[in-house]
Structure formats: structure tokens, C-alpha cells
Symmetry: D2
Subunit: 346 residues, 4 copies
Amino acid sequence: MRVRVSIIGASGYGGGELVRILAGHPEVEIVHLAADSHAGQPMDVLFPNLKAFTERMTESPDIPRIASDSDVVFLALPNGLAMDLAPPILESGARVIDLGADFRFKKAEVYERWYKTPHRSLHYLEEAVYGLPELNRAAIRGARLVANPGCYPTAALIALLPILRHPAASRRGIIVDAKSGVSGAGRGISLGTHFSEVNENVKPYNVAAHRHTPEIIQELESALGEPVSLTFTPHLIPMTRGILVTAYIPLREDVTGEDLTGAYEEAYAGEPFVRVLSEELPQTKATLGSNFCDVAVRVDRDAGMAIAMAALDNLVKGASGQAVQNMNLMLGFPEDLGLRWPGLYP
Amino acid sequence: MRVRVSIIGASGYGGGELVRILAGHPEVEIVHLAADSHAGQPMDVLFPNLKAFTERMTESPDIPRIASDSDVVFLALPNGLAMDLAPPILESGARVIDLGADFRFKKAEVYERWYKTPHRSLHYLEEAVYGLPELNRAAIRGARLVANPGCYPTAALIALLPILRHPAASRRGIIVDAKSGVSGAGRGISLGTHFSEVNENVKPYNVAAHRHTPEIIQELESALGEPVSLTFTPHLIPMTRGILVTAYIPLREDVTGEDLTGAYEEAYAGEPFVRVLSEELPQTKATLGSNFCDVAVRVDRDAGMAIAMAALDNLVKGASGQAVQNMNLMLGFPEDLGLRWPGLYP
Amino acid sequence: MRVRVSIIGASGYGGGELVRILAGHPEVEIVHLAADSHAGQPMDVLFPNLKAFTERMTESPDIPRIASDSDVVFLALPNGLAMDLAPPILESGARVIDLGADFRFKKAEVYERWYKTPHRSLHYLEEAVYGLPELNRAAIRGARLVANPGCYPTAALIALLPILRHPAASRRGIIVDAKSGVSGAGRGISLGTHFSEVNENVKPYNVAAHRHTPEIIQELESALGEPVSLTFTPHLIPMTRGILVTAYIPLREDVTGEDLTGAYEEAYAGEPFVRVLSEELPQTKATLGSNFCDVAVRVDRDAGMAIAMAALDNLVKGASGQAVQNMNLMLGFPEDLGLRWPGLYP
Amino acid sequence: MRVRVSIIGASGYGGGELVRILAGHPEVEIVHLAADSHAGQPMDVLFPNLKAFTERMTESPDIPRIASDSDVVFLALPNGLAMDLAPPILESGARVIDLGADFRFKKAEVYERWYKTPHRSLHYLEEAVYGLPELNRAAIRGARLVANPGCYPTAALIALLPILRHPAASRRGIIVDAKSGVSGAGRGISLGTHFSEVNENVKPYNVAAHRHTPEIIQELESALGEPVSLTFTPHLIPMTRGILVTAYIPLREDVTGEDLTGAYEEAYAGEPFVRVLSEELPQTKATLGSNFCDVAVRVDRDAGMAIAMAALDNLVKGASGQAVQNMNLMLGFPEDLGLRWPGLYP
């Protein structure tokens, strides 16, 4: 019998991408697609790529019913909603994977400082597991509640973890300069995502103020057991999907790019979805539509600086693909089940 | 035992897309990837999306060896080469699917007029089956040599066949106005496909002179048993993948859009890769990366004109996906084996 | 003393483009920039390109004050507003150039059928001059109220007028297939203009139902003195600026492309902003940011069909540039004053 | 009498942009357009935006004739050619503005290390003035030979100079992360600028190895009189024009963003083409087609890091516009003559 899966927030890009991915998963069936503002609309009108794959309508979210009908519930919602919805679902026995930020922070005060709202579910905040398999695989396997990482943190952490564990690297003065396609801003309309304003344009935003900064720092400090200082700057670029992170790490001692590449290859040996490049450099197009994250590292010896780069598809490895990877781990399936296919190129 | 498949012309977009698609096909294994000018390069450097899927190098095309090692050979080559390569492969017992134009024409003189070169394989030209499953499924099933249709003809024929079979439609004065992404021009570099010349630009090309015109007319006349007059104008638009065809068909008698939509639904009932839209209109993004072709029809009653539209991904249903669909038919596999997944949206 | 100019609707793309263009006009000064919903915002924040060119704030539209302070008032508003605002401005002695549809139709019932609202200014509807200089130059010179043409009609009329005046051309069964950048949809946000939905996508819209259809037909019939039947299909393509029209005209007798090109060259000899191409084909990038419209014509002799093409920048020749061209005519300035510069390429 | 101007390298983007800009300059006339590989082609076919502005053909470069006919010669050539062409032109009495790298370096060995070719014009290398008006205005005024800065160095230097002159800033460990449109790579075709490879893609290139690195460092060290360590990483993004530089400067002492913004406003007060933003952030679209460079600065106090940003159009302020600005200075014209117009938005 197939695992029964529901999605709350099915009309957004995270929700649509979950349905796209799960359409190819051999062990699940979708039982509810809930979407508050678009309830009653056919999913294949909201997402015309899904025509011939589902005739399901989106429904108003009836939490008790979804909870009792489902083994796993994905929450793909604006921040601040999941902390109210997850508890009753968990208490009815279903597992929850939250694609938003509500359960990502160890400390409620960090969440409250950056998201400007009190946290109303401290118990589950403590229980939640941060769902980056490359960092937390064992804990995810036993989890009931997984906080799926943000798109930028996924790329930044995969780029930074191996080098920050290397003795040559400083943990102070780190720069994460990120470039993102527009789908990362979601499906909600705004002047900032209006085609004519974004096309043929590149712009930084939320400089020294993006909410993914504390998430990256929390996970680095937790992994390294040491304070980290880091500046994160996101940029919006005129494409739909893809994140490229270029990270700069001051070096405390001389090291070659080859040495560091070796450290990445070792760190990610056996990882199903991280590809370490040595000759080539990451580019988002190599990951388009797939669950892969490509990484590489170089050294600027004149300046004593390492440059670590990572590319991924923000809607797949940066959101819904990683959520399915977490689901596979939680349910004991092979980690790459239904997720292993190459991206589109070109 | 898996079917042994080889690709000649693996370094172009058609070849790369074949490898991407076949990576998910459960019944084939790739035995040779031949690419003349890039021989010796790793396939996953030529196509970085394929990293972790193949460690194979491209080879110089050794035709006898490829022929004897393979059950099926895909030719993804510039026009004019396949007519020399296909015969020895066929004679060694392998099947051939040619993605180029060499075997698409019933009459050598039409090929020679439009492609400006004598045809050197008249025997196989006669034997070849035009590989549009929606038109020729039975013949494809028994074929040794399939001429995979051009990208524009695939969209145009799927858009036009049901309405031209309808008594209300004229077969004279038909217009096919097509808009294509740039990957249709292949991977060969030129000023006309240089990013800065194409981006933020739309332009017609080969007006009243594109080689896909006689291909469309041949298949329409063959299907209808009647002469057709048709003007085809392709346009290049600033996107990578996708073709949209907007076709105009003068009406000889009054008919509603609903009636015509009914005719399309009937014509394509049971087709695994044609989706008839009634409320919505085709858009290329709904097919991105998938093997679907979306169609719709409308009527301008004031002007006595029907408008038939079709959208597809030129590298999938317009090339490599359709080639695999043909392979499935030729080998007796389910027609959609390894081909049924939704496109990316957005 | 400079001519005093005001703009009502300054926060939209038409308004911003007027300010950009007028910044280089030697004979005007801007006295009011009115923008209802953005009143009180600095114009150079709404349009960051204008920084260093204006420190003016947008104001709430105070019609009597604008009317008394201005020699010319541009209305760049959603349809349905100008018919109430233009009369008091005209009555106070200022000239009005309306970039919307309110004064474009000769017959109120056509407006009412297509714009779904009663016309409340029949007197001025009758007085208004349709502001296509290539068609109506003399009348524009003496006008108080000019209805600036729609972006699609400008391109379609410039493409069609010379051939439809040619004896070889039919006036029945004409097709106008148009491709537009997204800025033509204005600055108002919607899912249909959300970057991620439009990028890497091409789609038809308002098939057999676009409001520019009756405008094109009205002007053709008025110019030709004969009924015309025409089907117009607009498409949205992933670029910001530019319209390309590809028009198909059935031929009643044999004629060559060279003959027809000669007719275009004759028709547009002396036109300051129409460039007739003979060897090359129109492309929108050649007109980017400029007031030019490029045209060419070809013949498909096999099919008995002429193909006329026109390209322009929808915000310049398709809107604000043409409005300034009309202002120049109305005020007796050289027609190209402040308007003659080449577009950006690439 | 107008100043006589010639362009060698007229068929590339730098050359075409010079003609576009000079079309609006009231004090110059173009006397020769030389273009080796495209000699004999009409300039308005090579650049269709120029139709109606020039009927001139490109010529083979006849250096003596160009030198004797011209007051100013612009060289817009691949690196390594200008060092042979400039000397005879200078010796015949004309001024030279070189848009390439040949005369940018103070030390021949730096040029030779990065450009892999011996320098053959040491005398003029010493004489040449680095043409960044914001840094070198006085020296440019008296110069015969100006080395026009690279596109990235223009943006990087305008972003960095004010903060590196501030006592709070470190001059070590500086990061310059740059994002460029594709026209910066020129008009020469390559797989790396093939539309389908670049569109929907972002990628770093020449990591820790780009030739603009020593140019930036040379000018900073010369301006500051102190060594600088700096890492520069360029990225290619899917747009035609525009560069955004995001620079990171470690802070030695606490300082606010407002303080630093004040330093920028002071540094650039009176500059005709630098706009300092305080509330807003730079974005390339605000500069599209114009000669402006927009800058802003922010502070990440948690990390002790300043972030300085600059945006410009790489073909205007980053190349041909700046070259005309230098010409104006060299000839004693107002610095902004023929250069002051707003960019396109959107």
C-alpha cells in the first residue's frame, strides 16, 4: 500500500513542484491538495504542466481530515502559519515536513527577531530536525517533524561546510554572495517580481538584512562548535530557477585549490545529490529541474582567499526535492527514490 | 537483457537530450556515444547535467562497430550525413531513427530542391517511415528506418490535422505562424544565435523559404489526399526551449469553437502525448522538458477564420522525446515507456 | 518661453516614458506629474533612470490647476478615465493627447461593445483625431484632442496600409499575428505578468477577442473606403519592450516581393520614423528605445500570399514617442524634434 | 568646424555603441569607420539600429589616411593590436582613445604577465593616462593618449574609492563580486555566449584569474599609496547589458551606513555621471543605455563588514560612453556634451 501524502499550500510554486516530483515517486499517493485562496480550482489549471497527471481539485484546508487521511503532510506555506498547523497534524500521528521557516531555529528568540512574530509552538520547535541530509541524515531518519532548509542556506551550507572544517580556513569574515532566479520569491505577485522590472536587470536586496543569514550561521556554528561571522547578500537575476552561491573564506594558512577540492570530494563521497566539480565550475543550468547541488572550490593565493561555489535549483534541492529526499529518509525508503534524474540542458 | 542503443551526433542538443531521456528508460543501455568533432571528451563535460549519469567518453564514429554492437542507432546529425550512414547500419541488422531531414521526403526531388544536394539513398528514402506517431503509428511499429519529424512540422501537423479533416475547413490559404526558442537552431555557434543578438529581440527568418514548409505540406496532402496551400513563417524568440504554432484556417462554413474543440478531443482521445485544451490556451512553459504537445482551437466568426494552436518542447516532442517514442513503438514497448513525466512549471 | 506640459498618469510605463523622452526635448518644460495612487512619491524613485533629471514629486490630479497651468496635457491612464478628464482640460484651452482608447473610435457603439462601458463624451469623441501621423498628419496638425493609437494598431497599420492600397492585395482574410514584450501590459501587477510565469514562455491571449481588432479594422476601412475582414492574434513573449507584427494578405494576382517593396518605399518616402527594409527583415531590437518602425514585405508565390512585417518599441512609437510626435505636429514644431536618436543595439 | 573622429574596430559592440552615441554629439563628425573583417559592409546592416543615421560603409583600416583625416581616433579592438596602431596615429598629431587594455598598465610586466604577450610600445605606455574621469580628470584633460578603463574596473573603482579612503576601512581582504550581462564578452561568437547556454543560467568564470584584477589593484594602490589585497570574481548572467559590482570591505572600526553614504555623497558631489543612492540600491536597469553609474553603501555591523555596490551599462559608462566623456575632456568640451540622457526603464 502506498504512503498517503497531502500538501497544504498546493497552489504555490513549492506545492506545484511537490506534485510534479511525486508524480514520479513509486511509493506514494496524494490524498489531499489544500490551497486556501485557490480552493476549488483544478490543480492542472493552476499548474498546466500537470494536465494528464492529476484531475484533483484543490480544497480548503480541513486539518483534522487531512491529518487523519495522511501518513505525511507537506506544509508549503507563508512563514508563520505552520507553527499552528503542524501540532494537530503531528498529534494525530502523521509526519510533517515544513518547507517554511517556522521550525528551523533552535532558539525562539532568533526566529522572533528576524520574523517579527512570537513563536507559538516552542515544544515542536525543540523537537524539529533541520532537514539538510548532508548534515543531519541520522536525525532526519527518526524525525516526526522536519524543518526543510531555506533555498539559500541549502546552497550556502553545502558550499561552506567542508572548507570551514578545514584547518586552513578562518571562520570570521566569511562572505556569501548569492544570485537567485525569481521563482525563489514565490508565486505571490508584486512590483519587484513584475516581468518588466526584473528582466534585463540585476539587483541586490535585503543587504545585511536577509532572514536566511541567521539560519546559515546557526547551522555552521552548530556544526563547527565555534562562532562564525558571515555576511550574506542575495541578488535577484533575470531567470526563473536556480541559485548560485559564491562564498569567500579568508585563509589562515597557505593551501592549494587541489587540496581543498580533495576535502570536498571526501566530504561528499557517497552523497547521492552533491556533485563535486574539479575542472569545471558550478552553473545553475547544470542542475535545472533536478535535485543536484554542484560545488567547486578555488584559491586566490595572492589574496589569501578561498572561493567556494554551489549551484542548485531553488525549487528542487532548494525546496521540494529536498523535502521529498527528507520524506524518503523519514520513511526508510532509498534516499534517492523517485528523485534521481538529470536536469534539463540547455 | 536491455536493448543496446547508440547515438551518432552525441555532442549536439539532440544527442544530449537523447542521453538525458534514455537515462530514465528502464529497457535500454547506451553502448556508443559518437561525436566527430568532440570525440574523446567526457559526455558529462559536454553536458554537465549528465554528471553522475554517465562516465562515457564520446568516440569517433566507427560505423561498422556501432552497427554490430547496437539494436537501435539514433542519428542526430546535420542534414546530408544520415543518407550515407544509415544504409550500412540497416544492412547489419540494427534499426535506425534519424532525427535529421534525409529520410523525411517521399520524393527525392523535393529534398533536392530544398536541401540543395542530391539524394544518395533512394532505396531507403522509399522505405523510411515518417515518424509522427499521431499520424503513422501502425507503420512505425513495423519500421526499420524512421525519419523523425522536424520540430516545426510536429507542432504544425498536430495543430492542423483535425481541423483540416473537418468539412468546414478550407485547405487553401492556410497560415502557420511559428515562434521558436533558440535551441531549435542547434548547438552550432553563429551570430544569429549569439546571446546579445537574440535576447530582448523577436525576428522572423526564412520567410516563405523555410525547409519545413514542404515537409508540412507533404504530410498534410498525404493525409488528406488533396492539395494544400500553406504559408509557413518561423520566428526566433528569446527563450531556450519551446515552439508555439498559431495556424489560421479559412472556414468555408460556419462552425463554433466548441464544435471544433470536440473534433480535436475525438481525434486525440487515447493519444498519450497530446493534450487538448478547451478553456485554456497552449503555452510552451506547460510542456517544458516533457514529451507533451498541447493544442487548442478557436473561431473568429466575424472573419470566418479558425485559429489552431499547438505548443511543445522542440527538443523533446519536437526531436529526442519523439525519437524515443518511435523507438518504443518499433520495439514493441509501451509507447510512453520512460517518457511519461510532467514538464517543469515555472 | 517653453511649452508647459503636464502628464496625468505619470507612475505607469507610458508616463515614465513621456518624462524620459521629454527630458531631451528642447521646447517643453514639465509642470505637473499627476499619479493618483502614487501621489507624493518622488518621480525618480518610481523611475530610477530619471535620477538627476527630475526632483519633482508626483501629485494627486487636480484637474483645474493642471488645465490652467498647461499648454498640453498627456493622459496616460487606464481606459475609461480620459473621457471624463479631457473635456474640462480642453475647455480651459489646453490641448490633450490621450494615450488610452477612449477617443479612438468613430462610433461610440464600437467602443461600448469592446470596452463594456457607455461613452460619456460623444462630442469630443467626434472631434478627436486618430493620431497616426503616417495616416493623418494634416488633421493632427490642427487638432485640440488627439487619440494616440494603440501599440498593436500602430504596427499593424504601418505594416498593412501600403499593401492593402495595392491592387494585387485582397482585403478579405487578412491575418495579423503579433508578438509583444511584456511592458505592453503596463505596470499593474498580475499573475500573467509575474516574471516566473512569462519567462521562457510564449502564449497567445485574447484570441479572436482583443480590443485592438476593431481599432485596426476601423482605420483600414476608413483609409480604403471598403470593408476589411481581419483576424488579430496577440502573443506574449519573454522580453520587456518590442512588438513584431507578421501580417498575411492573400494575393488576387501575381506580384513580386520587389514590386511590393517598391510600393512601401514610395508610401513611406519622407516619413521621419518609418524605415523600409529590403534585404533585411524587421526585428524589434533594431528599434529598442527609439521612435522608429521598421517594415518589410515578402511574397510566398507558391501560396499566393504576401507577408508584411513591422517592428517597433511599444513604449515609444507604440505609445509615448508617438504622443510626442503628435505634440510636435500639433504645436508646429519639426515633427522629429527631440525624438530623433537611434535605438540601443544590442 | 566639427571635430573629425574615426573609429577603428567599428563592427564590434564598442564600435557600434560609439557611433550610436556620437550620432547625438553636436560637435563631432565621423570620417572613417574601419573594421577589418567586415570591411565593405554598410554600418547600418551591421547595426540595424543605425539605419537612417549613417550610410557609411566600413573600410579596411588604412592607418596613415585615418591618422591624417582625424582629430581623434577611437580604437575598439581586441587586446594586443592597439599598441602597434596608436603610435603612428599619435605621431601624425591625432589624439587616441583606446578602449582595450594595451595602455592601461603602469608596468609592462603586469601587462605581460596577464595578457601573455610582450609590450611593444613602452614609451606610449608610460605616457598614457588611465581614463577614469572620477579619478584622473585633470590628467585626462591634457592627454594625447587615453587608456579607457575596463568595464569591471570602472564599476569596481567607483564603488571602492570612497570607502577605501575612509579610515574605518581595511585595505586587505577586499572582495569584488561582479555580475555582468553578456555583451561584455563582445560580439565574437563562442559556445560560452551561445544563447541556449547562457539563458536561464548564471556561472562564475575566470575565478581568481580575471585580467581586470590587476587593473583594479593598480588604480587602488596608486590612489591610496598603499598595498591592497583583493579578490575579484566575475559572473555571467542572462541579460545583454549591465554590470553590478558588490564589494565587501572589512571594517577596522565601527561606522554606520549613513556615515559612509555621506562619504560617498561628498566624494561624488559634482560628478556628472555618478549618482549616489541612499534609500534605494543600485540596479543595472536604472542605467540601461545611459552613461550613469549608480552607487550605494551599507554596513553589516554584526559582521564588521561594509558592502559597496555599483551598477552601470558596460557598453556606455563601462566602454563607449566613458570614451566619449574622455574625448570631451581632452577637447575642452563640457564633460557631459552629447552624453546626458536618462536610460531606458523598463
